[in-house]
Amino acid sequence: MNIILNINQQEYPLIVPANETLLRTLRKLGFFSIKKGRCEKGECGACTVLIDGQPVNSCSILSVQAEGHLIETVEALGEHPKQGWKETQGLHVIQQAFVETGAIQCGYCTPAMVLTAKALLGKEPSPTETQVRKALSGVLCRCTGYQKPVQAVLRAAAILRGEEVPMIDEAAAAKSPSDGHSVFPKMKHVEDHIPFDTVGHAEPKVDAVKLVQGKPAFTADFAKRDMLFAKVLRSPHAHAEIKHIDTSKAKTLPGVAAVLTWEDIPRVVYSTAGQSHPIPGPLDTFSLDHKVRFVGDRVALVAAKTPEIAQAALNMIDVEYEVLLPVIDSTKAMEAGAPIIHDEEEYVNFDKSDASKNLAAKIRIDIGDVEKGFTEADHIFEEEFEVPKQHQAYIEPHIAMTYWDENDRLVITTSTQVPFHVRRQLAPVLGLPIKRIRVIKPRVGGAFGGKQEVLIEDVAAHLTIATGRPVIYEMSLEEEFLAARPRHPMRIRLKTGVKDDGTITANEMYCLSDTGAYGCHALTVAGNTGHKAMALYVGDGPYREHPNIRFYADAVYTNTVPSGAFRGYGVPQGFWAIERQLEKIARTLNLDPLEFRLKNTLRPNELHPFSTAWSEGREPQPETIHTVGLEECVRQGRQAIGWDEKYGNKDWHNVPGSTHLKRGVGVALLMQGTAIPHLDMGGASIKMNDDASFNLLVGATDLGTGSDTVLGQMAAETLGVPLEDIIVYSSDTDMTPFDKGAYASSTTYISGAATTKAAQIVAYRIRRRAARLFAQKGIEVKAAEILLKDRNALTPSGESISLKEIALDALHMSDQEQIMGVASHVSPVSPPPFAAQFAEVTVDIDSGMVTVDKLVMAVDSGIIINPLTASGQVEGGMAQALGYAVCEEMVVDEEGQPREKDFVDYHIFRANEMPEMQTIFVETQEPSHPFGVKSVAEIPMDGVAPAVGNAVLDACGASLTKIPILPEDVWRALNHLPKQNEVRS
């Protein structure tokens, strides 16, 4: 159809098919600010545009419907303030506010939020926070927890009204603690805190300006000419043998370039888990196989000229299945006579995996003498807990694009956390040497562990090899729910021995982990459940030195969607059980829940109890934990939540005027890890340019977490320049040093140490040259005495040479050299962050509906490099953890058919239903890192569920052992009815 669209006040005459969505038309025209969440029901809002000033999902309207209306996109709002000789208006006030407040993490939803804010402020110049939240409710954000985007809109509104707004820094937040900490976290520094110039400051993210403009930055934005679109035919059965596939009709469909089945490609067994060599898990996966092992498993691949043709081709493939009995219930997976899911002869065991028993991983750890510990206890507590499969729900789906470059090397542009693992692991699958593969990671629209998987790159790559053409493969949202790699569901049995005084004498956990159809991360996730959650409470007195801990785990195969890595990596599962158990013990023995916990937790300079027993399938080595800020975390958190006024206060528990409502507070104490010791390695390279700017190249993978920014801050601090002088680039296997990728809470610690080391090398060479230049001026100074600060090299007596002079001298004038440094880092320790998570809830005792009113998290993550990005991690993590606590789960029926396939049924929290959240950082100086950091990204995932569970118990007496905490489960507990018999994968 011939139409004219008015986009950003410019008319575009177009010919479009009647069925083309506005989203597709606009992206074809190059409006890349409009993102594809692939929800197709308007639930995610990533594709928001303004139509006649109203935010609307462009995926849900036809282009022809938009004719005659004004369409606005972020491209028309603002731009970089300095475009060479051309003066611009700079960023729009709203965009600037998003940059300043740290409201941008992955940036995938940012343009949509900015447009929505513009629409709101156009109608309502002085919105309340409630109005802002209501407006932003149409845009799902999985990164931020909405706290900072909401504050960004309020800040922009104030500026547009002509009001002065405070700086976003610690001093301003401290002046107005009641609302100041809504953007800037509360900071409790170490006693001898000395402020740095760049480290420790709320520097705007280095990628914020491009993301807020919606610049092409994500994989989908880099389409190639002559590109084919891939689709995957997926199994309708949970367990079946493919007896025959007829692709002849599909292959003859005009526009189809390739159809591949298992018969067409080499049969190479591998693991999709993106981990270091050697993979600590079984090799049990093929790109395509003659057997399908879950509903959604791959059957065939198609590449075609358009997505519609590819879809039509899928519909023309005839498959004859021999349906096999599935294993759905993990408790039955190892029973005698259970169907064997992996009977392929190519299966490669790792450690104790045993495919003949559907066993992907087995762990048996005994520390001390557990049985003796139980005999020494005055009380034994036993309970069984259950946690569900949870989806990462990143808004940008998995997407990969492949092509042959001019050197006949395969280029894979992909939204991944692990570009170097993708290259290494796919090489044998594709029949290519590593040197002929280049993996480029552009910006990633959220990942949270879900993209620590070599999940889809092979689909596009096989089709590029088959056709010789560029291929893009983008999973639909339904495919994400059918076939991505969500969190492992587990059943956890706990047995704890306790003395009358609250001393834990022994603790035993058995964990049955459901890895689904493939064993990706089976061993390491289950191991982490024990390694972190069971390590925190060692006991007191003699038990502190010689704790009695047993951790046994079996990770079993089932015919359900495979599990994988997800923020927390097994630890949230463990802490749900541990912290619910400890609450029960405290209440039964009439112990103060906080004192009881602190009595038994790890303390500084104690040995990590698991460090001598287990290390992700590798040789364990003893580790001493030097910094534990847990007591201060508890002190800060209890004050912020008002624990002393609420806990045990009967009056407070009642809600005036509503007899059916009861309030409660709960707590959970937590520890996580910081990288994998002796294994995780990150590299960095820094070179100095003519103007004394620096290129920092890192293999580390910024997923929106802000790691590029904090690495840049560490480099800037070391080199004595502002962050704006550091040009950060990540990651490209051809261009950047190796990094194992973004996982295990390692980037700030490992890649940060590598960056600092590289910067120290560069700084040393700058100082050496500076000393020579000073000498030429008659100033004698040792290189080691020179301070790099404010873009200058300074002598102790105050003389200075600018870094620019030094750079020009080095590159052009005398004894020329490229000042640069390359370094890498691997750590012998994994210093745990610690945290106290508090929750306040209201329970409707008639219906069991739980409303979470407030979350407070006090975190010891060592020294905080960037309070805004770090608190953004905590807020976003708490929001995800809140979903895990009350609503997020993936349920299958007895035939393995999934219930959740979209964001309608799989509900993630929206801006207008979030509880109040507060973040407090309790700094400690971790000695194993040059700036004293520990990790922050994962620990916020660990404690919300048990804190909410404990708060529900406090509110109404309902003691839950399973999450999510569903209204019916609370209601049944209150009415002493049996639990529902549900099948959960």
Binding site: M1, A18, N19, T21, E40, K41, G42, E43, G45, T48, Q54, P55, V56, N57, C59, S60, I61, L62, V64, Q65, T116, K134, A135, L136, S137, G138, V139, E308, H660, D844, D846, S847, G848, M849, T851, G883, V886, C887, V891, D893, R899, V904, D905, H907, F909, R910, N912, E913, P964, L966, P967, E968, W971, R972, L977, Q980, E982
Partner: protein, 257 residues
């Protein structure tokens, strides 16, 4: 797949297109059902210019054209606050800017608060041709099977009754597992609609007085079991929430007295 597109300027033109049996055309409300376009080939008649986008109060009723966007109900002074609260639970900001009343009635399921409220208020629907008026309670169960006409043009519901609802969900803005909506007329007529389950909301009770709302609600959801909640839970909690709705209505009456 949509293969043709028309944008008529009047209802008459729209009717002419929709009545043309040579074309396989469907009305296009906007914003709610594009996702169902896969599969069959059909054309669409975009109703954005036909003028069915007004809300008016007359004869003690709120009359809304089917092209009224859900966002328009939020700012309208005549629309009951509980209706506005229900729309806020059902929809996101973006969806209600595009979704229309007609589109919502056609596509929403039993877990819609808005639809449950309209059912409780004994909403009537006008269909063309013939300006036929059909009660929502009669139309909903047959919605997928037969249509009273080719084009729904208006929904009208009582403005005067007290209307309240209670709901249960996993989070405040999640799709409800259970909705109890109670409407009470000045005459004492009390009508209870239940939602949170199944394809459509249902009527649990419509009587001259309020007695028995708990029993009626319990009975109406006797078999309301699915993967989201058990029938036992729904019926027992519906019973309690029905009584709570009445309490709220009575509190409102007392405050007015």
């Amino acid at each position: 797949m949509i293969d043709e597109y028309f944008r008529p300027a009047t209802v008459k033109e729209a009717m002419s297109l929709l009545n043309d049996s040579s074309k396989h055309l469907k009305p296009l409300g906007g914003g709610t059902s594009l996702s169902h376009k896969k599969g069959e080939q059909f054309g669409v008649v975009d109703l954005q210019n036909v003028g069915l986008d007004q809300i008016e109060l007359s004869d003690q009723k709120i009359k809304a054209g089917v092209m009224v966007r859900l966002s328009a109900f939020l700012g309208h002074p005549g629309v009951q606050p509980e209706i506005q609260r229900g729309i806020l639970i059902d929809t996101t900001g973006n969806i209600r800017n595009a979704a229309t009343l007609g589109g919502w009635l056609i596509s929403s399921d039993g877990r819609s608060v808005f639809s449950t409220l309209l059912l409780a208020l004994d909403t009537s629907l006008t269909w063309e041709p013939g300006a036929q008026r059909v009660q929502m309670g009669d139309w909903l169960p047959m919605r997928r099977l037969e249509s009273p006409g080719v084009l729904m043009t208006e929904a009208a519901w009582w403005a005067q009754p007290y209307i309240v609802f209670e709901y249960v969900a996993r989070s405040p803005k999640d799709r409800p597992l259970l909705i109890v909506a109670a409407a009470q007329w000045r005459s004492g007529r009390t009508r209870i609609a239940l939602g949170g389950y199944g394809e459509v909301p249902i009527i649990a009770m419509d009587g001259p007085e309020e007695g028995g709302v708990d029993v009626a609600s319990r009975d109406a959801y006797y078999d309301a079991e699915d993967q989201w909640a058990s029938a036992l839970y729904r019926r027992e909690v519906a019973s309690k929430l029905a009584l709570r709705c009445l309490e709220r209505i009575n509190e409102t009456k007392e405050s007015e007295a």
